[in-house]
Amino acid sequence: MKADVEPRPAVAGRSAVAAGEVLLSLEHVSLSFGGVRALRDVSFDIRKGEIRAIIGPNGAGKTSMLNVINGFYQPQQGVITFKGRRRHNMRPYLAASQGIARTFQNVALFKGMSTLDNIMTGRTLKMRRGIVAHMLHWGPAQREEIRHREAVERIIDFLEIAHIRKVPVGKLPYGLQKRVELGRALAMEPELLLLDEPMAGMNLEEKQDMSRFILTVKDSFDTTIALIEHDMGVVMDLSDRVVVLDYGRKIADGSPAQVQADQAVIDAYLGVAH
């Protein structure tokens, strides 16, 4: 639907209006572990309402990038600005409370818990009532639980996983686990959703389902998405803009078509294998 839009602004509707506004910006971010330099002087931004893909060969620093945005890693250098405010000493639970949700490359679910409970954990930060009120399960606490439960049921319906609502997620096949993980992230009603290889290990049909979910999330949940993906077809179809990393450096940044045509990218990544 937007594959041939070269300079972006012409896209219709809400995303065009929001396109100029920067949600998250990273300037000159560097991250190293001892002698290993995972990210070197990387700068890019994520605009409100777009799907931003981060691609690159294995070991390029894509997941490290996500971990920095999400607060798992503290970059040694660089400035990160989220919603117009500069971040200091980020921690994962703080990032979550500011509206950043994520999924993981190797599904990280709470295996002993049911699909429903897993997705309910996404509401943790939105629940305000204290422990005692919840234990007594009276009045306001009960209404709160019901309200959040409704929100979660809507997500379950949307992701078409109603039939596995009560199943412990450890027993689910991989494709469904990925979907539950997306549901947990959506339950947080994030402004920025980070997806680490959402299609990894999926068959064609599952990939199509997941693509459909991601596009719907962008359009109707009012969520900005940054995703890492290896399937180039998916990346080119889904994303509005693509940033390419190689050995921790940014080597290209632009629309899918621009990136595909970029010689540095072809050399580093797309072309070499052929």
Binding site: F104, I131, H134, G170
Partner: protein, 309 residues
């Protein structure tokens, strides 16, 4: 009729003392469920809670506080000590080890055990301190049904009641509250829990605090039974077979395991003892645990963990 009465008496006595094993086992289960750590320090925590309680109580009664106030204040003091311990353990022992594997965390709790045992005796003293919170005299019931009636220790009944309330409370806490859900989440996956906004350090503090309070409850009852003394830490050894039988991840398992061990060892002592020699009480629980390990390694109520390969 005499035999039936005797069996019933032994069985009841055994079940009630089994409840007390369950209380200690509960502390282990809570921490294991919520952080995946087998907490070697649980026995030491019972000792610490008991010492803090009994010493504060002695001090207050010595200064002529009314009994009810002294008990209340001493309980609050001991609870505060357990809260402090929970904070210290999180801050200095577990906090730096987030995302490490279970064995590493287990080893660190062994270290914490020695520190807790040493520190609590250094601060509160190392004698045997008698504690009288509950009546410990006997009760004769059903004396119109059985000749001589059935003898029950009142303390054991108290223990049973308190354990029941505690377990009901904990079950509701784990199932109905967002904190309970967060605890289960942290046990399963640290990184994922952090990513949905659960602060791990706070959760670990809560877990150790709850385990500390359970240790305090266990200390009030065991302290009344045996006096507060160092040997109370060996209770942790008796809790181990209880855990294996019930399953490490199950609160009801800890209860049923405790009851089985309590009743089983008393019955075996009385009815098998004369045939194969006495002292069965000391090893019965371990043999039972060994059998369970052979037949059902996850315990009677434990979760069967399926690993994807």
């Amino acid at each position: 009729m005499l035999l039936a009465g005797q069996v019933l008496e032994v069985l009841l006595g055994g079940l009630l003392s089994g409840v007390l094993y369950s209380l200690v086992a509960l502390g282990f289960v809570l921490i294991f469920k919520a952080s995946g750590v087998f907490n070697f320090a649980q026995g030491a925590m019972v000792l610490l809670a008991g010492l803090a309680l009994v010493r504060c109580l002695d001090y207050l009664t010595h200064h002529e506080f009314p009994a009810w106030l002294a008990v209340l204040l001493a309980l609050m003091f001991a609870a505060a000590i357990m809260a402090l311990t929970a904070w210290l353990v999180e801050r200095f022992v577990l906090g730096p080890l987030v995302n490490q594997d279970g064995l590493t965390l287990f080893m660190s709790t062994i270290g914490a055990t020695f520190v807790l045992e040493g520190a609590s005796q250094m601060i509160f003293g190392s004698d045997v301190y008698p504690l009288r919170l509950f009546p410990s005299d006997a009760w004769i019931i059903l004396d119109n049904v059985f000749p001589g009636g059935i003898l029950i220790n009142k303390l054991d009944v108290w223990g049973g009641l308190i354990a029941g309330v505690l377990v009901a409370g904990l079950a509701v806490f784990f199932q109905n509250t967002k904190t309970g859900r967060a605890l289960r989440a942290v046990a399963d996956d640290h990184a994922a829990a952090q990513s949905v906004g659960i602060p791990i350090s706070w959760i670990w503090f809560v877990v150790w605090l709850v385990a500390g309070l359970v240790a305090l409850v266990a200390a009030t009852i065991w302290g009344t039974k045996l006096g507060v003394q160092f040997s109370i830490t060996f209770l942790a050894l008796k809790a181990l077979p209880v855990l294996i039988i019930g399953g490490f991840t199950s609160v009801p398992g800890a209860i049923v395991g405790g009851l089985m061990v309590g009743a089983g060892e008393k019955l075996a002592e009385i009815y098998l003892g004369p045939h194969i020699g006495g002292g069965i009480e000391y090893w019965f629980a371990y043999v039972l645990a060994l059998l369970v390990l052979l037949l059902r390694p996850q315990g009677l109520f434990g979760e069967r963990i399926i690993e994807r390969i």
